[in-house]
């Protein structure tokens, strides 16, 4: 720090010393060493109240962040990054990036998670030192498991000599990113502004290079607060995104031969598509092979209206398949095998001689401690490559490998495949009809009613714990579904939906979500964030008044232990008192309706809520519904 810089800590110390004199001498002996430190001439910088730092390091940091194109920084405010926050607002004009006020770091990260999947680019988040990073950790893990880019900026004061005593020490840490390192792609702790600019560009580039993932950059408080020196020497690095790698051409040709000769091929797509173009490529391959596609749902991969989309027929298609092509499947073993619960009995779901091809970059980004890599799956042909990038070459190889007679044979599958697709859709609708008039309201009716409300809009179903939407709703666009949480860590739903809605706000896309009651209660403050920043989102409570899945786990354990079966509600239900989610939302400025307990009441409530959302505001409809 230069001698003429504004040393606000000296000012604060002076004030603290005066206060101590007033309080008395109760701890005089213990304070003697501190008095010696006060007498250190190196710390005596004279009067500082009139000094100004007109070009703090944090201004340059904002220039760097702007250069990446990051549009939003979600954050709960914290003193460790106060200079950067001030620079974002006053120097940067609070635009690109705009500071989004959040009430929990888990909300900040989960918002960024949902935003990235809807926007196709990352959002920044600011976390306040040790405490902010610990709050953020669960949501970071979800983003990691889902291979979603998030730019995490963590405030910290590296120089212990300058830290204020007390709280600032609790909030500082030698290695801020350590707590996240098991489930982030990269991190750095820059010690100069040049270092900061290069590390931010590297982090952004790495976060967006498939397999994507969250990254962490520490913002040193002193570097941010102190003056920028020799700015002419600083060089803003050029940001160039990496081209995702295509799989080896020879391997793709071999895969094509296997697929063309298969009698019962099946394609399983998980985190395969990144765009509408990705969907087109999957459709092109499926049509070239006339092979059914199981969209596992990590992303929107296959139009649900296409006759080759057979996502609800997984058991039969996997069970009959002779060749299976996997496209960025997070849990390949689980597609072909299962373990019963609670007896842990192994069961194979496929033929023992099924040939498996996997196009994935999964092996290029794994870590040891957390077990998100899933069980090891032996495959016949493992192609290291980005699925979306590899599909055009694979499709061309398939077309080249097809003889005219084989092409004709594959075309002959169409009639049966169309019939099977229709049967699958009819089965879903018939199943949905059962219990239609039930109270609590059936989840199928809730889903169908929401569809009826938004069917004439461009829509995005951002978050849902139920399958009805995918099995019944006609979805053709990449933005229709954005996949799940990744790590199944509770608390993802509402903030992820708010983040997706933010990304969709300027695209004319209506964002809707089904919010779990237990999930929302992890950090409901995100409702306030949605209202404050006027983020239009239609939230429908999937309010089953329970941690429903856990009820079933308790029942299984009681049976396993040969004990009474009527106490599974203890510790698993959210009743007595029932939570009034409409009031909760209203208290934070969100329009709400509910609790809706009558099936006929859902449609009118959703229509009113949609009108609010179309005005640009969030709305919540609390529907008391069946467990699942």
């Amino acid at each position: 720090m230069s001698k003429d810089s504004f040393d606000r800590r000296s000012f604060l110390k002076g004030a603290a010393a005066s206060a101590a004199a007033v309080i008395g001498t109760q701890f005089a002996a213990a304070s003697a060493p501190a008095q010696a430190a006060e007498q250190n001439p190196a710390r005596d910088n004279g009067p500082t109240s009139g000094k100004v730092i007109s070009r703090p390091g944090s201004d340059y940091m904002v220039d760097v962040i702007k250069a990446t194109g990051i549009e939003y920084i979600a954050s709960n405010p914290g003193s460790s990054f106060r200079s950067l926050q001030e620079s974002i607002i006053n120097y940067g004009g609070n635009k690109k990036p705009e500071f989004l006020t959040c009430m929990h770091e888990e909300s900040s990260v989960a918002m960024a998670h949902g935003y990235a999947k809807a926007a196709g680019k990352p959002m920044g988040i600011l976390a306040h030192g040790t405490v902010g990073l610990q709050h953020a950790a669960m949501a970071v893990y979800n983003a990691w498991c889902d291979r979603v880019p998030v730019m995490i900026f963590a405030g910290n004061f590296l120089d212990a000599d300058k830290r204020r005593p007390g709280v600032e020490w609790y909030h500082c840490v030698q290695d801020p990113a350590l707590i996240l390192r098991d489930f982030t792609k990269w991190d750095d702790q820059p010690v100069s502004l040049q270092h900061f600019s290069e590390s931010v560009m590297r982090a952004y580039k790495m976060a967006l290079t498939p397999p994507m993932g969250p990254v962490v950059i520490t913002v040193d408080g002193d570097l941010a607060e102190e003056a920028t020196h020799d700015e002419k020497k600083l060089r803003m690095p050029k940001l160039t995104r990496s081209i995702p790698p295509q799989g080896d051409s020879g391997a793709l040709s071999e895969a094509a031969k296997m697929l063309v000769s298969a009698e019962r091929p099946v394609i399983l797509a998980d985190r395969a598509a990144r765009s509408q173009e990705g969907i087109k490529r999957i459709v092109a391959l499926a049509e070239a092979l006339n092979a059914p596609v199981l969209d596992i749902g990590g992303r929107m991969n296959m139009p649900t209206t296409h006759y080759l989309c057979r996502s609800n027929d997984r058991r039969s298609l996997v069970g009959e398949a002779d060749v299976a092509l996997l496209l960025e499947v997070a849990d390949p073993w689980g597609q072909f095998n299962t373990i019963s619960d609670p007896h842990h009995e192994y069961r194979r779901l496929s033929k023992p001689d099924v040939k498996i091809i996997h196009i994935s970059l999964g092996d290029t980004l794994t870590k040891s401690n957390y077990q998100d890599a899933q069980r090891f799956m032996p495959v016949d042909l493992a192609i290291s490559g980005d699925a979306e990038s590899s599909l055009p070459a694979l499709t061309e190889a398939v077309k080249s490998a097809l003889s005219s007679s084989r092409r004709s044979a594959l075309a002959d599958r169409s009639g049966k495949l169309r019939e099977e697709h229709k049967r699958m859709k009819d089965r879903s609708r018939n199943t949905a009809a059962v219990g239609w008039d039930a109270t609590p309201i059936s989840t199928a009716r809730m889903s169908a009613t929401l569809w009826n409300t938004i069917k004439n809009e461009k829509w995005c179903m951002a978050v849902s714990g139920m399958q009805w939407n995918k099995s019944m709703w006609p979805a053709t666009e990449y933005y229709n579904f954005i996949g799940g949480s990744g790590g199944s860590g509770v608390g993802y739903g509402a903030p992820a939906a708010v983040g997706a809605a933010l990304a969709n706000r300027d695209k004319g896309i209506i964002t809707v979500s089904f919010e779990g009651d237990g999930d929302l209660m992890y950090a409901p403050g995100v409702l306030w964030t949605a209202a404050h920043h006027k983020i239009p989102l239609l939230m429908v409570m999937h309010n089953n008044r329970a941690y429903h899945q856990e009820v079933m786990h308790l029942q299984k354990m009681a049976a396993l232990h040969n004990r009474r079966m009527d106490q599974a509600a203890i510790g698993t239900t959210i009743e007595n008192p029932n939570i009034d989610f409409a009031k909760l939302a209203q208290s934070m400025g969100v329009y709400s309706e509910g609790p809706i307990t009558s099936p006929a009441g859902v449609g009118p409530a959703l229509a009113k809520a949609l009108a609010v959302v179309k005005r640009g505001e969030p709305a919540l409809v609390d529907v008391v519904c069946q467990g699942r």
Binding site: S340, D341, P342, K425, R429, N430, T431, A432, A433, V434, G435, W436, D437, A438, T439, P440, S442, T443, A444, R445, A448, T449, W451, N452, M466, Q467, W468, M472, W473, P474, A546, H548, V551, M552, Q555, K556, A558, A559, L560, N562, R563, R564, M565, D566, A568, A569, Q626, G627, R628
Partner: protein, 118 residues
């Protein structure tokens, strides 16, 4: 074939045992209370309609025959927990079955415009 015969004999034996123990009358009211008390609805829905994500199959309206029902509850296939006699009596089981048997079918698919997704 041998396995099939063995399975058939086992089902017959268990069914016979269950049949001998089945109380003659079930109470709809008590059955509904029991269905809720033992939280059958968590997997099968409050009117037996079944649940999303393959949690539990539809069991009403039109439940399976009582013997098959009792066999499944006492010695279940797949992931369903066993509801043993010590904790759910034969009378309670009969009452629950009575409740399931009285559940009326809802509207058919053709009568529900909201399920027309075309």
């Amino acid at each position: 074939m041998g396995k099939l015969i063995l399975a058939t004999l086992m089902i017959f034996a268990v069914s016979t045992a269950l049949a001998q123990e089945k109380p003659s009358e079930g109470s709809l009211e008590r059955g509904k209370q029991g269905y809720m008390k033992y939280m059958c609805y968590t997997c099968h829905g409050t009117v037996g309609q079944g649940a999303d994500r393959g949690t539990g199959p539809k069991i009403a309206p039109g439940p399976m025959p009582y013997l098959a029902f009792a066999l499944q509850v006492r010695t279940p296939r797949l992931d369903m927990p066993a509801y043993r006699k010590e904790f759910v009596s034969d009378q309670e089981l009969t009452d629950i079955y009575a409740y399931l048997s009285t559940i009326k079918p809802g509207p058919s698919l053709k009568e529900i415009p909201l399920l027309n997704f075309q």
